[in-house]
């Protein structure tokens, strides 16, 4: 579904990605883990055309989207819940969700809204509240819900666990599994929380300094001693 070939990208003269190759198949949950600053977010943003790739290709369902402007990529069934959630703070929850449906057929709107609110009942209670007043967990739900409003085939999730309490993280990850299983949405999940991410994902990649260092199934990577010592130290298995 998503194929990244030899992707190079960066900001100005600083190169952040040095030739990334990876693939996300239809229906999969694939995770990309790595330390802070490894280039995970840059990869997701480059897939969406901002910043532009300096070399290499991004294919979505076989179509080359490397040179497409960001807003056109969103029209191809790819939705992005970005790092830091980027909720519109001075718009209501409902308006944030409406923004998620910009590329969707307006006739689906109420169906999609129902679907998202069933998944995240908390948002129902907050529908007319400003996005900026929500708690971190609620904002994360809104960011994912907003991304789902466009009926995406592929969902890019950038660190949905960032800054959230462990219980909330668990809840969010359960919901991601549910979205994947019930709504048949392919998920590409970028995480620092390696344990949860690898447990959830079918396959995973490990990124170090802008390169893919390791790849394998979730279980394989979880069992890998190097991964354990680098990313799973400190008893994260809560």
């Amino acid at each position: 579904m998503l194929k990244v070939e030899n992707l190079h990208s960066g900001y100005g003269r600083i190169q952040a990605l040095h030739g990334i190759d990876l693939e996300v198949g239809q229906g999969e949950i694939v995770t990309l883990i790595g330390a802070n600053g490894a280039g995970k977010t840059t990869l997701l943003m480059t897939i969406c055309g901002n910043p532009r790739a300096t070399q290499g290709r991004v294919l979505l369902d076989g179509t080359d989207i490397t040179r497409l402007p960001t807003h056109k990529i969103a029209r191809l069934g790819l939705a992005h819940s970005p790092e830091g959630r980027r909720i519109f703070p001075r718009m209501s929850v409902l308006e944030n969700l409406q923004m998620g449906a910009v590329v969707a057929d307006p006739r689906h709107f109420s169906d999609d809204l129902d679907r998202v609110l069933t998944l995240f009942p908390r948002l129902q209670e907050r529908l007319n509240q400003r996005g900026g007043t929500l708690s971190g967990g609620e904002q994360q739900m809104l960011a994912i819900g907003r991304a789902l409003m466009s009926r995406p085939a592929l969902l890019l999730l950038d660190e949905p666990s960032l800054g959230l309490a462990p219980l909330v993280v668990r809840h969010i990850f359960d919901l991601i599994a549910k979205i994947n299983a019930e709504q048949k949405v392919t998920v590409f999940l970028v995480e620092q929380n390696a344990f949860h991410a690898l447990k959830l994902a079918h396959r995973g990649y490990v990124m170090v300094n802008g390169r893919i260092a390791l790849a394998g199934s979730g279980a394989e990577l979880l069992a890998n001693p190097e991964i354990r010592s680098h990313y799973l130290e400190g008893g994260v298995q809560a």
């Binding site: 969406c48 901002n50 402007p69 960001t70 807003h71 056109k72 969103a74 029209r75 992005h80 970005p82 980027r86 519109f88 703070p89 001075r90 718009m91 308006e95 409406q98 923004m99 998620g100 910009v102 590329v103 900026g132 907003r146 466009s150």
Partner: protein, 304 residues
């Protein structure tokens, strides 16, 4: 009392016009964080286009004033809107992503270009328009003073209120307005969601230009003379109004415009008319000293 009432009416009329122009500044600032210094010139072009359209339509379409005004209104909204679109396309869009100073300088350049264009193509002399909307009401007669409200003043206020209501509705209720607010709050995110940010910005420039063009038409009718230089002071005043109300805020622009109009009218009425601009800008300085974000502006808080 009568005198006070008269100044109030005059101030509100003037303020309505400032407010209409100020909205263009505030909307553009809100969405791309740039002061469009050519906006005063857009208003000036609006006045010229309105005047030309009015004269042409009364020439070919007979003597009907109502028809002429309608033609002037539609023509100036359409063509000034196009100017607004073209200015953004030519002078600002290529500089998106450049350091903030670059579009600002480009705006000042654009302002000079437009001023000179109008001067050369239309001549430097003032263009008169005889009063076309006469009549009015005498509201109150005191000892030696009569308070009058002209039909034109009523037209100006009514048109302003209608446009304000319409634009508030567009911004708060329509998909375009939603996209504008989203782009204003987080441009990158709006693009990720599929919003064509360039188109939204173009629409914002067109909307600002359309409002300024209506202000241009009304000033032409109100004062009866225009020239290529009117955009400068009106632009600075409207910018002041936008800052006074809190730049980036739509109700703020309107409030700032009204306040500025009232300050000028009362100062001219009670003190000296020569110092009305000094008074207006002094108030601006005072407000900014105590409320740097303007009256309805919101403080810039970076939330992490």
């Amino acid at each position: 009392m009568e005198y006070f009432l008269q100044q109030l009416i005059n101030g509100l009329t003037l303020g309505a016009i400032y407010g209409l122009i100020a909205i263009g500044y505030t909307m553009v600032y809100g969405i791309i964080g740039m002061i469009n210094f050519a906006h005063g010139e857009v208003y000036m072009l609006g006045a010229f286009i309105a005047l030309i359209a009015y004269l042409v339509s009364t020439l070919v379409g007979g003597q009907s004033v109502a028809l002429g005004l309608m033609a002037a209104l539609l023509a100036t909204m359409l063509f000034t809107g196009l100017w607004g679109w073209a200015i953004e396309r030519v002078a600002y869009r290529p500089l998106r992503g450049a350091p903030k100073l670059a579009p600002l300088i480009s705006a000042i350049g654009m302002s000079i270009v437009l001023q000179n264009f109008a001067q050369i193509s239309q001549g430097a002399r003032v263009k008169p328009l005889p009063p076309v909307i006469g009549g009015g009401f005498e509201l109150m007669t005191g000892d030696d003073f009569t308070v009058s409200l002209s039909s034109l003043q009523i037209v100006i206020m009514v048109v302003t209120v209608v446009l304000m209501a319409l634009f508030t509705w567009i911004i708060t209720r329509t998909p375009l307005g939603r996209a504008q607010r989203a782009t204003e709050q987080d441009m990158k995110m709006a693009a990720l969601l599929g919003v064509d940010v360039d188109r939204v910005i173009s629409a914002t420039f067109v909307m600002g230009a359309v409002l300024a063009s209506v202000a241009g038409l009304m000033v032409t009718l109100y004062y009866g003379v225009i020239d290529f230089y009117i955009g400068f002071l009106a632009g600075i005043k409207a910018f002041t109004a936008a800052v006074l109300g809190g730049i980036g805020s739509l109700p703020g622009a309107m409030l700032g415009g009204l306040l500025l109009g009232l300050i000028e009218a009362f100062w001219s009425g009670y003190f000296s008319i020569e110092y009305k601009d000094v008074a207006a800008f002094s108030i601006l300085v005072l407000v900014l000293l105590f409320r740097p974000t303007g009256l309805l502006g919101r403080p810039e808080v970076e939330k992490i």
